[in-house]
Structure formats: C-alpha cells, structure tokens
Symmetry: C2
Subunit: 124 residues, 2 copies
C-alpha cells in the first residue's frame, strides 16, 4: 500500500486514527526515528512506514535522512487546511447564548408557519 493509493488530501489522511496517533507522537515538534515511532505505537514497522509516507505525501511531516535513520518531524502547517475549514464553525458553539435565543425565535416562527401545513411529527 505504498506506491499505491495514499490519501490525496489532508482530510482523508487524518481520518485514519493510526495516523492521528503518529501525529500525536510527533506533536512535540522534535525529530523522531521510524524505529522509535514503531515502539511507541506498538505496531509493525511496515504499516508505520506506510502511514509516515502517507503523511509526508500530504505535507504533514518532513523527513531528514540521518545515518541509517530517517528522522520524521511534524509539519503542522500541513494541517492548516483542516483548521481553516473547521474554524468557520467556531461561532456556532462559542456564542451559545445568542445562538439559543436566535434558535428559539426561529422555532417560534416555524411553529406559526407549520399551522398552515397542519399537524406534524418530529424525528431525529
């Protein structure tokens, strides 16, 4: 699964729990050898290398060859697209009070409109 079918974008890359785990290991911003990551993840070397390769492909990590080791480091900028995307929705939970009020108003309005439509059931 290496020269074949790595996720093409960051969103897909971080969807894999194992990959978020790799990122967690690298989240101190320091260099780490594959070796070390393997130990920390309690996982075979092969899949770890593959995950690192996948993360590298989408720009979330960088590699430096150092002796017989490959040192991986987090490149957090690669996560910015995700951050930027989700940041837009912050307001929905930060201004809860205003939110709830507005929502209540809307609901009231909707209830009025519903009267024209006859009785209705809810679902969720």
């Amino acid at each position: 699964m290496t020269r074949q079918a790595h996720p093409a974008d960051v969103f897909t890359a971080i969807a894999e729990p194992r990959r978020r785990q790799v990122i967690a290991v690298l989240s101190d911003g320091e260099e780490h050898a594959v070796n070390e990551i393997v130990v920390r993840m309690k996982m075979d070397q092969s899949p770890v290398s593959k995950h690192l390769s996948a993360l590298h492909k989408v720009g979330v990590v960088t590699v430096v060859k150092r002796g017989q080791h490959r040192m991986y480091r987090l490149n957090a900028e690669g996560l910015k697209p995700v951050h930027d995307w989700v940041k837009v929705f912050e307001r929905y939970w930060t201004h809860q009070v205003d939110q709830i009020k507005q929502r209540a108003e809307r609901k009231a309005l909707e209830r009025l409109i519903r009267l024209d439509d006859g009785p209705n059931k809810k679902e969720e």
Copy 2:
C-alpha cells in the same frame, strides 16, 4: 450504502469532499429540504440522502420531519472534535517568529551532534 458501513466518526465523515459540500450548503444554519440540497449539489437524490444519513449518524446534522419533507440543519457542535483536535497545532503557525528562532537553535545543535556521526545527506 445506507444501513451498511457509514463512517463511524466525524473525522472520517468529513473526509468525503461531497460531505463537506453538503455541510457548506447547510452552513447558513437554516433548515433545508433534501430536495433543495440535491438541486444545489447537482447530484442524484440517492447519494445525497446517503451523505445526509452519514452526517446525521455522526451528529453533524439534525433532521425534522415536516410534511412530506425532511428538513436538515447543521449541528455544528458535531464538528467540535475536529476543531479541538486541530486547534492544538495552531501555535505552530501563529508564533512563526519564535518558532523559526527555536528551530534555528535546534538545527544548530543538531549540526553539532551530527559531527560525531560523520557526513550526512538530506532528503525530503
């Protein structure tokens, strides 16, 4: 693909570009009928319903039955896990200046260490 194999977590759910598109349509915080989303997405009804169902399963949208329509609304709180996860990495790109300095220092240190190891090649 409906009672079968919907993504189990938000990260996987939003990895699908179409699903982020659905979310974009719902990002005004208002109710939208499936119908309307189908038109806006220029996609068949079946896959749209499936995506909505997937988003509902992970709590990113809510549904209300209203007449013959099902009104979907964004439930942004469902995106909070993603936000919380990625927010941790904000500092890596917001304090760039300090970052670069620290990094330079580290690199210098590393160069010293490398002298013990002999010459090395880089890669990326």
